[in-house]
Subunit: 227 residues, 2 copies
Amino acid sequence: MPDCAHCPVRDHSLCAGMKAEDLVHVSERTDQLEAPAGQVLYFEGDAARFFFTIRRGVVRLVRSFPDGRRSVVGFLHAGDFFGGGFRRDVYDATVEAITPLEYCRIGITDLNELTEEFPELNRQLASMAADRLHAADDHIVLLSRKTAIEKVAAFLLASAEWTGKSSDFALPMARSDIADYLGLTIETVSRTMTRLIDHDIIELPTPQRVMIVDWPALKSLACPEAS
Amino acid sequence: MPDCAHCPVRDHSLCAGMKAEDLVHVSERTDQLEAPAGQVLYFEGDAARFFFTIRRGVVRLVRSFPDGRRSVVGFLHAGDFFGGGFRRDVYDATVEAITPLEYCRIGITDLNELTEEFPELNRQLASMAADRLHAADDHIVLLSRKTAIEKVAAFLLASAEWTGKSSDFALPMARSDIADYLGLTIETVSRTMTRLIDHDIIELPTPQRVMIVDWPALKSLACPEAS
DNA sequence: CGACAGATTGAGTAGGGTCAAAGAATGTGG
DNA sequence: CCACATTCTTTGACCCTACTCAATCTGTCG
């Protein structure tokens, strides 16, 4: 049985508001699992039977067209909670591990029973839904009204925040994931990164590692002020 | 005091799951209001104190940049529920009436008290959040991976569904709203409509009224198949 | 009827896409 | 441990879609 009391994301996920002594009720219904990079947790359209919490690693949420076009609707990190399909009974998007993953899984019916016993879970669920909705709106603004360089700058800043605002961090996802997230092609993502390097705003020690050299410049690109 | 039992959106909104005899508890905490077209219900960033339900009319949710760029993150119709800002205490977006509006308003603290008394409201809230999230993901896919004609076709189809899949319906919003929703300019929206007319797929008796002539063609444009 | 906002049309341009090739990085088997 | 294969990334040349700027048209309302 998982030891939720010592979970690394104890205070940043679903059970953040729960009393320590109640946690055991969550633990006994939760499976602790691992997955290698690349593994699919579930497919868009599958019958939705589980909720998931990431303890370590990164996943991508993907929507695909019949003709092969792909859109990454989001990246999720340690502490993030996803799955379900609340009213609808199918998953909204395909979820794939980008890095090796440690995660927890709980059945939808189990979670529903838990919310009856511990109504504070509802508050947590609602606030996570609100966060996701806010993130989705940010994404919509980014996609509809930002240029390539603004998109990439905003993405790099967000990535830095996921890793604790460090100036030197990993980009675990491939360029194709970034492109499908930003609504660009991989070529444009690559060219734009190069432009940022040429302007001495970032450095790329390896393709999967970023150093932010000029924070103010990156920020003003990501959130353009009135000219 | 509002008469929730005979509300036109009684079965399509927040209180859809409630028993008739409990509705009075909602009624006595709800204000029934009206607003003319163009009125702002609240601004992005305002302290969030209310939730809203539309009984009649259409609103737009707007996010703005400091430099004037604008993004319409969604349109909401009769039965839709919005406002709040669950965990955050400010509204996520500005909400403006597009048509004359009839709506209901309930205080956040009142709603919180109601959910304690009537936990089934939580289920309704969660499912509405899930619907909004699904819609946001659809919007993300549309913005990131669709061409202008696909975007406009998808928008017209969605508009037709809001009005009961009629072939002849009103477009209450201006071209600038459509443009800011689809991530295009008004000129491109206009040109694309003209293209659809030239191909005998739609007609525009007036700029604010659409007739769909060729449903299959419109559908195949909106959801492109594998070639 | 005239004025104004909103919508359409036109001409020219540029940002990002497409197609193609070369260059790293990682992994595999000998 | 190295050679090779594979995949991912970067760079280059060219093109097209959608944007910009500008004029005209249409519908609405005083």
